[in-house]
């Protein structure tokens, strides 16, 4: 789309500028080719490799690999963790973005920095921090054990780690949007008698809905694909605390390559589904503006 805009803007240019853009044509072609080649090499080829390897022993072997009880448990767990963590980071992200964009308060900068923290910290370190906090020898470990609550090497730990790594996506998507919108419409709603909730629901939210969906999609993709942080806290208990990415690794380490790729192709499907959803959304945004 931006290319179209650029082309339209380029129309009323002078002759000199036009010839300059003609001169740059080979350069443009070369750049395009380089970009496509790069994408093909590092994105498309691996994807093709995943699917060819997954189907290398035929469709039946693929079905067998993905319907193994452990694979099904891993798929189920991955979906469950995403379903638990994505709504939470969405609510957090909307609230934090709104606070940051609309109010000037003490600790605003700190909150901003904290939101970015998961982008800055290695996921493995994040996982380790949770082990240090909630593990058996950890800070809250004994207290939790007394009440029979298991966090580390159990599903709660996996959800926590996923929350940590997905925290920034929604908030980061919304802050610039909300800042660009300004507060005029919200103030207009207030003078017209809307309550805080009505203002948010009828005015703020409709204006940021596409950005919000986009943030949610990104967070979801990360939630389903996260390896590092989840790997540290999960304990790799088969059928219990193995998510899809962890299950792929186990299969691979056991030299069951075809099964590993078959399960990986499931993840790839989830990722492709996410990308298609994103593309559809982008088209709708383009259409509605």
């Amino acid at each position: 789309m931006s290319a179209i805009v650029a082309a339209r803007r380029a129309q009323p240019l002078t002759r000199a500028a036009l010839s300059a853009s003609e001169d740059s044509r080979p350069v443009r072609l070369a750049l395009t080719a380089a970009a496509l080649g790069f994408l093909g090499l590092f994105l498309f080829l691996p994807l093709v490799a995943v699917f060819t390897e997954a189907l290398s022993k035929g469709g039946e072997a693929w079905v067998a690999a993905v319907s193994e009880p452990e694979a099904r448990a891993a798929l189920w767990l991955t979906l469950k963790v995403a379903a638990l963590s994505v709504p939470l980071v969405t609510v957090f992200g909307v609230a934090a973005a709104w606070l940051i964009a609309r109010f000037d308060f003490r600790g605003r900068r700190l909150l901003l920095a904290l939101i970015d923290l998961p982008f800055a910290v290695s996921p493995v370190i994040a996982g380790l921090v949770f082990v240090l906090l909630f593990g058996r020898q950890g800070l809250f470990g004994p207290a939790l054990a007394e009440h029979g609550v298991k966090v580390i090497f159990a599903v709660p730990g996996i959800v926590l780690a996923t929350l940590f790594v997905t925290l920034p996506f929604v908030a980061r998507e919304l802050i610039p949007l909300l800042e660009a919108e300004g507060r005029d419409e919200e103030e207009a709603a207030r003078t017209l008698g809307a309550s805080g909730f009505q203002m948010f629901w009828r005015v703020t939210l409709p204006n940021i809905r596409f950005g919000l969906l986009y943030g949610v999609i990104l967070a979801n993709a990360r939630a389903m694909g996260e390896f590092g942080a989840v790997s540290v806290v999960s304990g790799h208990i088969r059928g219990l605390t193995n998510t899809l990415p962890l299950h792929v690794e186990i299969l691979y380490n056991e030299y069951r390559f075809q099964a590993a790729f078959a399960v990986a192709s499931l993840l790839a499907f989830l990722a492709i589904g996410t990308l298609v959803a994103k593309a559809l959304l982008e088209r709708r945004i383009g259409g509605s503006r």
């Binding site: 207009a188 709603a189 003078t191 017209l192 008698g193 309550s195 005015v203 409709p206």
Partner: protein, 249 residues
């Protein structure tokens, strides 16, 4: 309904935006706040509407203290400088908004809402535009939708921030005459902000000249034009034609 502000102070950071402003607006009158950029006109209007809280001083509606009252309960019609129409709603829904957000007990029936919105759109001469979105309207049309939206909730007073600021000179003159006519018709107590002295003097019953967070003079257009009370007012009225000459070059 009359409006009174008493000794309003407002600071932003270390800038004193309003330094002791007192003003009375009689029921049914049309008052202009006139002053240079940054003199505190918008700040004063926002404080009257309850969108900003004064550091000190009082706001009274019909003699009753409303300083602590939330904007939502003040029943003040506010027309924003850049209209602030709801972009994702069509003209009809924009105007209907204030009615739809009412509590169950006071919300009109759908039929009444339809009737009231149509009536208002006729009033601002935009009946045929109900299905359009704000982005499909001209500046003058947006302005009138914003006005209809503000009037829909039957406000007790009407506040307009530079209502003609973003319009070209011709549309501006038309709208000005139209607004005066509208005011004569419905008699709603109104305050509008402007930095155009001609606008203030030709439209308002009374004019308050603001400078640097203070009211320099308040009076009828005649008073202000013939008997400027301070050197600033005299200067400000003098300076205007020069500014227009500069703009024309």
């Amino acid at each position: 309904m009359s409006i009174e502000v008493r000794d309003i102070h407002k600071r932003f950071g270390n800038h004193q935006a309003l330094a002791g402003v007192s003003l009375k607006v009689e029921t049914g009158s049309l008052v202009a706040l006139l002053g240079p950029s940054g003199s505190g006109k918008t700040s004063l209007l926002r404080i009257i509407a309850g969108l900003e809280r004064p550091d000190a001083g009082q706001v009274l509606f019909a003699g009753e203290d409303a300083t602590r009252q939330d904007a939502r309960h003040r029943r003040v019609g506010f027309v924003f400088q850049h209209y602030a129409l709801f972009r994702h709603m069509n003209v009809f829904e924009n105007v209907a908004f204030g009615l739809r957000v009412r509590g169950r007990a006071t919300r009109p029936s759908e039929q009444d809402i339809q009737g009231r919105v149509r009536e208002l759109l006729e009033l601002v001469q935009l009946g045929w535009m109900a299905d359009r979105y704000p982005s499909q309207l001209s500046g003058g049309q947006r302005q009138r939708v914003a006005l209809a939206r503000a009037l829909a909730v039957e406000p007790r007073v009407l506040l307009l921030d530079e209502p003609f600021g973003a319009l070209d000179a011709r549309v501006r003159r038309q709208l000005r005459a139209w607004l005066r006519g509208l005011h004569d018709k419905i008699g709603l107590t109104s305050v509008f902000v402007t930095h155009d002295q001609e606008e203030a003097l030709s439209l308002a019953h009374r004019v308050a000249v603001l400078n640097d967070g203070r009211i320099e003079q308040e009076g009828t257009p005649d008073d202000i034009a013939r008997r400027p009370a301070t050197p600033f007012v005299a200067d400000f009225l003098q300076a205007e034609p020069v500014a227009i000459c500069h703009a024309a070059q």
